[in-house]
Symmetry: C2
Subunit: 331 residues, 2 copies
């Protein structure tokens, strides 16, 4: 059955039925079905807003992924932004454009993926829009909440602060590379297709006041650390051998590259948290990592702005950073 | 200069510069430039969220409009949804996909249009995303705020309530028809291309507790009244001769149609407010219309559900409603 056969109104009814069975946070006064959704936020909290656009061809290839993982990822990348500010996700709206010849089953699985992720992170689908389009396009806006004085920005890094990263980096970029080479399955490919946002870690880092600055790794460790440095007016020295990578990464990268570190610095979409912390909070960070069961690794230190971003390799010499930031209009 | 020449990062910088000179509401703690925007909402208020998708070819034709009006309209249709709930608009995020060969000047004028509208209605651009796409696509999510007990839903219409509409209806649909026939200029075309949302009227109707149910006319008077009736579990009787239309509409429609009422019932995109009100509030509605300088016209009455929606024509007989609701996937 194609969308052109059931039509927009039956599609919206099907989505509403799925959403009704999905997560419904306590703050939702009115979800789907009126001119606007109505959300009650906790007293004294500020509202966080983030949005991301996913376009077939530009951000994903339907030959590599499936609608369930794609739905999960559309929400995950927004959850990661809320996590990077130390917020708690609450509600989201999602607009989807797709060709009229799209299978209705495809669309239902896409929304099931979105709603599964929403249940996992306790946030509610409260509205959206649908339209025909030449290619599949997903536009998602997620709201969150946080105590105003606990929100973590990119701009607070201070000279002498330690730089930490959660989990391991480079996996997602390596997974994408594997997909392009025709590989299937494995942990790196899974991380690319179905990233797990560090929502709990972000909330705890903020609640305990551990971070002076924080960002999620979407553009790549070097580029995202660069965003913190620019916003904070600082430089950084990163120890390449301290950057955590997974066993799967290590095993796989050697099949493709002579330099195992390349994707660790410039590979995007890991959706790990990168944050800076004053030296006296180091112990608390270690305790949090243990409590969460999430590795948090110190990889360097904030220095003065004039020194820029310097990465020191295994041989103690400076390691060149080849910036490969993705420009949607130039490539 | 094309987008492919300046690239995504310079485009985002240009948009940030425009936004910095634009409206910046008092509640915005952090706008563009971090992982999420941070907004402080007034104590005791609920948050309203609405979103709309505009796709070239499906929702607009670039041969009919210009980027400035298109930008204004992208925000206007969302402002109208907040107005229909009786809210005050606060902040919005906007994602735009466009072909790499798009002129940078076009994009700047589009955002200038958006930001001009934002200043007019005192809300702030706080984030967004950009990407290449095969056609121009605008996805906008607008937040608003309201006192929880003052929010007006579609579902509160009661038997005996009067039905009111602001301004005049049918103009926008007639304007679109004129554009399709190669006409240019005039009030109806202007209303189609650059609708003015009834934000002040919506806020006042809610603040004074005048409406039992409210919606904005985007799908057409009959379809949108139908939404109120469905949500409220009621029927309605509408007096066709009481429906307000503009002089321009009256003058123009006779050139095209033998029946002057056709577009009044089924033509969409007027973005007027349609609301129901208990009989004892009728005088207060009249006073509000005078205070605002906005016509508010009584066009019918809410009846029991079993009677459905009935429209009575000039001859006192039932007037047939030809539903022409637009289905994006079927057409």
């Amino acid at each position: 059955m194609k969308l052109s056969e059931i039509g927009e109104f039956d599609l919206i009814k099907a989505i509403e039925a799925l959403a009704a069975g999905g997560a419904r946070g306590e703050g939702v006064v009115k979800g789907i079905g009126d001119d606007a959704a109505i959300i009650r936020s906790a007293p004294g909290k500020v509202i966080l807003v983030t949005t991301d656009l996913l376009l077939e061809g530009a951000h994903f290839q339907l030959v590599f992924t499936d609608p369930h993982r794609l739905g999960r990822k559309a929400l995950a990348i927004n959850l990661s932004d809320i996590a990077a500010c130390g917020g708690r996700p609450t509600a989201f709206v999602i607009s989807v454009a797709m060709p009229p010849e799209t299978d209705v089953a495809f669309v239902k699985v896409l929304y099931e993926g979105i709603l599964e992720q929403a249940r996992q992170f306790n946030c509610s689908l409260v509205g959206g829009d649908t339209s025909k389009g030449r290619a599949l396009m997903i536009s998602l806006t997620l709201l969150g909440e946080a105590e105003e004085e606990r929100v973590v920005y990119r701009s607070g890094a201070k000279h002498g602060d330690r730089i930490f990263v959660t989990g391991t980096v480079g996996d997602a970029a390596l997974g994408l590379e594997q997909l392009k080479r025709g590989e299937q399955g494995g942990q790196c490919i899974e991380r690319h297709l179905d990233p797990i946002p560090r929502v709990k870690a972000g909330e705890e880092i903020a609640r305990q006041g551990l971070a002076s600055a924080m960002i999620d790794i979407s553009d790549g460790l070097a580029a995202d650390l660069g965003h913190i440095l620019e916003a904070s007016g600082r430089g950084a020295q990163v120890q390449l051998p301290q950057i955590p990578f997974s066993k799967e990464y290590l095993k796989t990268i050697e099949q493709y590259y002579s330099d195992r570190y390349g994707l660790v610095l410039t590979g995007g979409e890991d959706y790990e948290l990168l944050f800076t912390s004053p030296p006296e909070k180091e112990e608390a960070v270690v305790r949090l990592a243990q409590a969460l069961g999430t590795p948090i690794t110190m990889i360097g230190e904030i220095v003065e702005a004039s020194k820029g971003l310097k990465v020191v390799g295994e041989d103690g010499k400076e390691y060149p950073i080849e910036q490969k930031g993705h420009d949607h209009f130039k490539t």
